[in-house]
């Protein structure tokens, strides 16, 4: 009984510390976003501004300001590009993962290793030639071409997770279905894919979160108004001798909303997905 109480105490303490540590900075960012600039630059111990203002949010979300138009455009660009990353990347990763796990191909293992070895390749090593390539074939400022670059960076991790999943998928089910005369393609779509949705969805989440946070790649490849994502826009409130802290904080808070919602919705699948995906 005593130890039980002790464990409960430890658990609660851990939860409180965890919440403080995780949400503390985010809440502080929220406070900054509603603090007027004049109040911000005063040393003092007050945390809550005397005159809180929602002006920064109004400027970002209001109907008629240039900032709000830009913000909405950037938000939709981020969503489109992250969506396109999933759209392009997921089929490729599923196909590759299935082939690596189920169809024994010579060189498959080497391909996987080669892919994984590209994970530490810094973006600085690829961005200049990539720009030249995209410029030549006219793919600059294009959501889907940008997404293709994101795919190339997430593909190794995602393919690995999916490969591991298909490996752990019981062979007997497939064999039984094949005996019944089901074709391989039908089998894949009717039997294999339906039970694999958790892993596929969690792969989608990994891709989405990765795409959402990118800065350098979209800055160089797609910084026009029509394609510029939120992460790049957030940085624009700081400049040579200029820094709008309130605006940056407000935009930062808003920028984390969409992925947070996405993460919450897919939380369940993510966890069961990774369990099956054999990162175990």
């Amino acid at each position: 009984m005593r130890t039980r109480l002790l464990w409960r105490g430890i658990y609660l303490a851990a939860v409180v510390i965890f919440l403080l540590f995780t949400l503390g900075p985010v809440l502080w960012c929220l406070i900054i976003s509603i603090t007027p600039e004049a109040e911000m630059f005063r040393s003092g111990v007050g945390l809550i501004p005397a005159h809180a203002t929602l002006e920064n949010y109004a400027r970002l979300l209001g109907m008629n300001s240039r900032e709000s138009t830009n913000f909405m455009e950037a938000l939709s660009n981020s969503l489109i590009t992250a969506g396109a990353t999933i759209l392009i990347g997921l089929p490729i990763a599923v196909a590759a993962g299935y082939a690596l796990a189920r169809v024994k191909v010579r060189g498959g293992r080497i391909l996987l290793i080669a892919m994984l070895l590209t994970m530490p390749v810094p973006i600085l090593a690829t961005i200049i030639p990539l720009y030249a390539l995209y410029a030549t074939i006219g793919l600059l400022d294009n959501h889907f071409a940008l997404a293709a670059v994101y795919v190339s960076s997430t593909l190794p991790l995602v393919t690995l997770i999916i490969t591991n999943h298909f490996r752990s998928f019981p062979d007997e089910i497939e064999q039984a279905a094949l005996m019944d005369g089901a074709g391989r393609v039908r089998l894949f779509f009717d039997v294999v894919l339906p039970v694999s949705y958790p892993i596929v969805l969690s792969a989608a989440l990994v891709m989405f979160l990765w795409a959402w946070g990118q800065y350098m790649i979209p800055l160089i490849l797609a910084s026009s108004r029509a394609t510029k994502p939120l992460s790049v826009m957030v940085a624009e409130f700081s400049s040579k001798e200029f820094f709008l802290y309130g605006m940056t904080a407000a935009a930062g808070i808003l920028a984390m909303l969409a992925p947070a919602v996405f993460a919450v919705v897919f939380r369940r699948y993510l966890i069961s997905g990774l369990t099956e995906g054999g990162v175990e």
Binding site: W7, V45, L111, T118, S231
Partner: protein, 298 residues
């Protein structure tokens, strides 16, 4: 058709299908990763300074020698190494603690998991900014709290020294990377059958001992995955450093050094060479990463 011949042609067909399935992945990787890094290698062998376009020429390994002889490179290397080690320690510990918290089934579990994911959802640029507000000298959150609580009298200069600064940078990076680790470890923990625990605890083993004897060995492969993830990602620490202390030589990282060569000094030769040196370095970390991951992929 004799069975052997059928088998052979079947195998060939299967292989062909396999190649078709792998083709898109191979195509994407070679067009968008392989192709550019080959170019960068060529740059790294040239005197390729954008501000001296007439001097562009092949110089062999000169850029590599130049970078390796630069004390600032080694300074950045040492800083990166330190940050990586701290991120590894902090990241692993916090991943494990958070995963343990989340594995306790309570009513708030869903909410807690959602909270745990938030740092993962932050773009690094925003992450740097967020923590800048926390550690800001004068009116940062931490100073306000400490002064308010009477712990210190004047604001603490968090970024005064090199070690302190690197420590803060590592903390911030670990904060962003830990959620991935926590989720991976949580998934692992949940795959451990409950009856194993129950058997252990009814045996009289304490919970800590149960963790040490049962959970830890089962988690080992996932821990390796998380560790490599932390290492590879902390090697790229860039946005957070810029946001927290700017382009300061003292606390520069390899990614920052590389950025300065290629973008600030517009020297694509030394920039490319630095990138390749970093890749070589990370290749060692990457090798452990790949081994731990492909090990399971067989």
């Amino acid at each position: 058709m004799p069975p052997d011949a059928y088998r052979e042609s079947h195998v060939k067909k299967v292989e062909r299908t396999g190649y078709l399935l792998l083709a898109p992945a191979a195509l994407v990787m070679s067009a968008l990763v392989l192709y550019p890094i080959v170019f960068t290698f060529v740059y790294s062998l040239q005197d390729y300074r954008l501000i001296y376009p007439d001097k562009r020429a092949f110089v062999g390994l000169e850029n590599y020698a130049r970078v390796l002889a630069d004390p600032m490179f080694w300074n950045a290397f040492a800083n990166t190494l330190l940050v990586t080690v701290i991120v590894l320690l902090l990241g692993l510990t916090s991943s494990l603690v958070v995963a343990s918290i989340l594995s306790v089934p309570t009513r708030f579990n869903g909410l807690l998991t959602a909270v745990a994911i938030i740092p993962w959802a932050l773009p690094p640029v925003v992450n740097g900014l967020l923590w800048k507000f926390v550690f800001y000298p004068g009116y940062g959150l931490l100073n306000k709290l400490l002064i308010g609580a009477g712990v210190v009298e004047g604001p603490i200069q968090w970024f005064g020294g090199r070690l302190g600064t690197l420590l803060v940078i590592a903390l911030v990076v670990a904060w962003r990377l830990a959620p991935f680790g926590a989720i991976v470890l949580l998934a692992s923990m949940q795959s451990i059958p409950r009856d194993v625990y129950e058997a252990a605890t009814t045996d009289g083993a304490s919970r800590l001992q149960a963790f040490w004897d049962i959970t830890r060995p089962l988690l080992a492969p996932s821990i390796a995955v998380v560790a490599s993830y932390l290492v590879v990602n902390s090697l790229f620490t860039f946005d957070e450093v810029i946001a927290l202390v700017g382009n300061r030589a003292l606390t520069s990282t390899l990614a920052l050094y590389n950025y300065n060569q290629a973008f600030t000094f517009l020297n694509l030769g030394t920039g490319g060479a630095t990138a390749y040196l970093v890749m070589l370095g990370t290749g060692i970390a990457g090798f452990a990463y790949v081994r731990s991951m492909v090990g399971k992929a067989g």
